[in-house]
């Protein structure tokens, strides 16, 4: 086993070790903790970068050993896993910077950052898992390590949200375990592989396989917040802003969506899944979730809850893209995994900035925020436009690709869903933007804090601005070889034989 093949393990260990170190640090050692956090995040980013480079060169990184008789623990870096790993490594770094500023002076920081790193380690594990069993292992670890972050504030509301979160996710985990164990009993240990395993399904297996697929999607759908399994997500917004930003916009929900991608593309295979009639049902659920989430977002008064419902809606784009039976649709869905992450994290950063700087949590308190915090508001506006799908931002790229993909396979109704959803997005984002930029400030801000020259703390401002720039670049430079879209095209070329 060469050192290079251990890269996935190292990438996993950076955040795991960081967690262990941070747990043992005393509360007051702020500098050391920040140093460990940022250092680990940078190292991880570099490691992921190296692996991406290697994969472009055609190398593969794999570590495997037998855990329980008949089941292997597999960590493997392939093109698809790097999509998710790269996204989370990059956003981990930015969110860590943000979180250091956000939690300044608040209690229990060692606990917070320890579990935060543990969650990132789990996300990394999910990205790098080479078979369903390993995937499940980290999937449950993610559940456990995010719980303390949800209940971090310790208020009755936070504890309630935590309970609802844990009930949803653990039940989902149990269903997923049942499905994986059953699948394992039927066909044995399946590593993820492009094209899947069930190109030719025996008739006797059709029934069980379809049922297992439904169970798998139900188990993964809890984290992916598919309606009606989405109830935990809006509640979990009581968590501190960095948690909502990274975990509930990126890591947790994407873990579910990513799992569905793995199952559809690399266990069942697109052809088998559509042959079994499973994708049509999944497409229906995803389409419904998209519309439902947007519609609910329309009626929210709390900014973070609005963003949560928007997440519910947006994550299903990824799943809908998968169900479009073709490489173009898959590309659209996968690229949305990245684009949505960047856009949503920008929005959450901004929402956190408003809350931290001005004490604003409700939408109707935002009047005039653009004047007080221009940079944050610009970033927020970019994020919102991206969500609506204004060209040339990242969100537009996704919707465009998915639309063309749908038309190519004759699923015209998907275009209708996309259009309706974009209209709804506009309907809930534009009034907010109107308040921010054109609203008249009547009263004082609920709880204003000052940070010298800057509109808010530099720790809070820069991450938001960087992600905002990223979301412009992702759209503008979509055709350059370094963009997420090019990477997704590489994946699609490897996954779905053209």
């Amino acid at each position: 086993m060469s050192l290079a093949s251990l890269l996935p393990v190292f990438a996993l260990m950076t955040s795991l070790l960081a967690a262990v170190i941070i747990f043992t640090l005393p509360e007051r050692s702020f500098r050391l903790r920040t140093l460990v956090n940022l250092g680990a995040a940078v190292i991880k980013l570099v490691l992921v970068g190296v692996m991406i480079w290697g994969i472009v060169q055609g190398r593969a990184y794999e570590v495997a050993f037998t855990m329980v008789p008949g089941v292997r623990f597999v960590l493997r870096a392939d093109a698809l896993s790097m999509l998710f790993a790269g996204l989370s490594a990059l956003l981990w770094l930015l969110t860590t910077i943000y979180a250091v500023g956000y939690l300044e002076g608040s209690p229990n920081r060692s606990r917070f950052f320890g579990f935060f790193s543990l969650s990132v380690a789990s996300t990394m594990g999910i990205a790098l898992a080479g078979n369903l069993f390993t995937f499940f292992l980290f999937y449950e670890m993610l559940t456990l390590s995010t719980y303390p972050l949800v209940v971090h504030r310790g208020t009755p509301k936070a504890l309630r949200a935590g309970r609802s979160y844990i009930i949803y996710t653990l039940c989902g985990g149990a269903v997923l375990l049942l499905a994986i164990a059953w699948l394992h009993g039927l066909v044995g240990d399946l590593s993820f592989r492009p094209g899947g395993y069930f190109a030719e399904v025996e008739d006797a297996l059709r029934g069980p396989l379809s049922l297992i697929f439904v169970l798998l999607v139900a188990g993964l759908g809890v984290k992916a917040a598919l309606v009606p399994l989405h109830g935990w997500l809006p509640q979990a917004m009581v968590a501190p802003a960095p948690v909502s930003a990274l975990l509930h916009a990126v890591a947790v929900v994407k873990a579910g969506a990513f799992g569905i991608v793995r199952v559809v593309l690399e266990i069942y295979g697109l052809d088998a899944a559509s042959d079994l009639g499973l994708l049509a049902g999944l497409a229906g659920v995803a389409a419904f979730t998209i519309i439902y989430g947007s519609a609910r977002a329309l009626y929210q008064v709390d900014l973070k809850r609005l963003l949560a419902f928007s997440t519910v809606s947006q994550v299903s784009y990824i799943i809908l893209g998968l169900c479009l039976f073709g490489p173009v649709g898959v590309a659209g869905g996968l690229v949305h995994l990245v684009h949505q992450g960047i856009m949503k994290i920008t929005l959450f950063f901004c929402a956190g900035n408003y809350a931290e700087t001005l004490g604003v949590h409700r939408i109707d308190e935002l009047d005039g925020a653009g004047e007080r915090m221009p940079a944050t508001s610009v970033a927020f506006t970019l994020g919102a436009f991206g969500m609506i799908g204004v060209p040339p931002l990242a969100g537009f790229t996704t919707k465009w690709i998915m639309g063309t993909g749908a038309l190519a396979v004759g699923m015209d109704w998907v275009v209708v869903v996309l259009v309706v959803s974009s209209l709804l997005n506009a309907a809930y984002f534009l009034p907010i933007l109107h308040r921010i930029w054109f609203g008249e400030r009547q009263a004082a801000w609920p709880q204003e804090r000052r940070w010298g020259r800057l509109e808010t703390s530099a720790w809070l401002l820069w991450p938001a601005l960087i992600t905002a720039v990223l979301l412009i670049l992702a759209g503008l430079l979509a055709n350059l070889p370094v963009s997420p879209l090019s990477w997704v095209e590489l994946i699609v070329a490897r996954e779905v034989a053209l």
């Binding site: 449950e140 670890m141 456990l144 935590g162 394992h184």
Partner: protein
């Protein structure tokens, strides 16, 4: 080499029991540390010997059976010997700091502790039904004594209750043994099994099996005979509770399992297997449910033991009348469950003891806000909880996985909901404790940090149970090692 190892294994605990009986707590502590070291080394040595060369039969003092004591030293037995050494060493170490030497009666901890260890080793290695009885009695009596060590009347009440249940169980078992000897003229499990194989079964032979199983399940606290367990395990001092939950109940289960695997095929029936499995399933649900509503921290953990023990009884239906690989899978799953539960539950009880010491109250709500002190013990408690919930990568998860697989493969799908619901319910009671610790409430700034070594011990155990899932393969490969030279009797 092996005679020395065997002598060390069986002789040291008895010798140390006598030695420590003569001295006070503090001296006993010093002597016991040495003894623990010897035991751990000897257990490791024996484990390594068996892992290398396979198992063997050993006649104590060279006397042949039936009057002499013949020991069967196979992979499974040494695995449990090693487990016992680990857990008992941890509990002994913890107790040596945790117990208050000023209380005069605490000096009896050490002799009882060593008698318990001797009995456990005797049971793991015992090959004939009567010696198992003696080992079991040694365990029960010292366990009762350890429970009574608390000193207050509630502890004595629990101890007496426990004693009564244990005595009834022993007698039922002994009656079964008497009937078996009356019928077969042999006490060795393997011998009876061979006779049954040659002669076939006759009507009425199920009665001894039933009596033995009744006695043993009573001692293992199978639902609905679990009433004695929560008071006894809840009220005992924390290191004692840890020993009891981790090891003592496993001893009677181990005998029941050995009897079932060797004789169940001839004397058992589908109905009996399903009945025992069903009671185990009810125990899983009922125990977890009760654990969820206990006001006291240690009662939560004690009821959780009732639930976790319930899983073990799925061995009976999953090995009766199924294909060999499926049965093996179930046996492996149950073995992992025993090991991981032993480690996790010991960690949990020790951690609970530390937490109670820290906040000065044994109630769950008293934990409000302690999470901000970053108590190591709370973390250990949570890690052990992961294993109890059966979440990866813990040993509990590996066990659950194997049980799921063997349920599916044997077509007994009705155990699936039990396995899944049991995991969810245990998550509920573990998270209840966690939730309490995250509550921010005024007036929780009084917190006593126990000494480092007290906190490290449960952490080590919890990490072992958590990591067990990752090394389940190697552990299980030793367990199934056949006898080397001189197999059979």
């Amino acid at each position: 080499m092996t005679p020395w190892l065997m002598a060390g294994l069986l002789f040291t605990p008895l010798a140390w029991a006598v030695l420590t009986l003569l001295v006070n707590f503090n001296r006993g502590r010093l002597i016991s540390w040495l003894g623990i070291l010897v035991q751990v080394v000897v257990s490791l040595g024996l484990w390594a010997a068996v892992a290398g060369d396979g198992g063997f039969h050993y006649q104590l003092g060279g006397w042949p059976a039936p009057l002499g004591i013949e020991l069967r030293v196979d992979g499974l037995a040494v695995t449990f010997v090693l487990l016992t050494a680990l857990v008992a060493a941890a509990c002994g170490w913890h107790a040596s700091i945790y117990l208050d030497p000023a209380k005069a009666w605490h000096r009896y901890f050490w002799p009882l502790f060593w008698f318990l260890w001797a009995g456990l080793n005797g049971v793991w290695l015992g090959g004939d039904l009567f010696n198992l009885y003696v080992g079991l009695e040694l365990i029960s009596l010292s366990a009762v004594g350890l429970v009574a060590l608390g000193g207050e009347s509630a502890a004595l009440r629990a101890a007496i209750r426990y004693l009564m249940a244990a005595l009834l169980g022993s007698l039922a078992y002994l009656l079964g043994v008497a009937l078996i000897y009356g019928q077969f003229g042999s006490l060795s499990i393997a011998g009876v099994s061979r006779l049954l194989g040659e002669a076939g079964t006759a009507p009425g032979q199920t009665l001894p099996l039933l009596l033995m199983l009744f006695g043993l399940t009573l001692k293992t606290a199978l639902f609905p005979m679990h009433g004695w367990l929560p008071p006894a395990h809840g009220i005992a001092r924390s290191p004692v509770s840890a020993l009891l939950s981790a090891l003592v109940v496993k001893a009677s289960f181990y005998i029941a399992a050995r009897i079932w695997l060797d004789l169940g095929g001839y004397l058992g029936s589908y109905g009996l297997a399903q009945l025992i499995g069903g009671l185990g399933a009810i125990a899983v649900i009922w125990g977890s449910w009760r654990a969820l509503w206990q006001a006291k921290l240690k009662q939560v953990v004690a009821y959780s033991s009732v639930a976790q023990i319930g899983y073990l009884f799925l061995l009976f239906p999953l090995t009766w009348g199924v294909a060999e690989p499926v049965s093996l899978q179930a046996q492996q799953g149950i073995t992992l469950q025993i090991i991981s539960h032993a480690l996790a539950k010991a960690a949990m009880f020790l951690a609970a003891g530390n937490l109670i010491m820290s906040v000065g109250s044994n109630r769950v709500d008293a934990l409000a806000g302690v999470s901000r002190f970053l108590p190591f013990s709370l973390f250990s408690f949570g890690l052990a909880g992961v294993s109890l919930m059966g979440l990866p990568p813990s040993g509990g998860f590996a066990a659950k996985w194997l049980l799921l697989q063997s349920s599916l493969a044997s077509g007994q799908w009705w155990w699936l909901p039990v396995l899944l619901a049991g995991g969810l319910l245990s998550a509920a009671y573990v998270f209840r404790v966690y939730r309490a610790s995250f509550m921010e409430r005024a007036g929780t700034d009084r917190f006593f940090h126990p000494s480092r070594s007290l906190e490290v011990i449960p952490m080590i155990l919890a990490l072992l149970s958590l990591g067990l899932g990752l090394v389940a393969g190697p552990v299980l490969s030793v367990m199934v090692l056949p006898f080397g030279e001189g197999g059979g009797q």
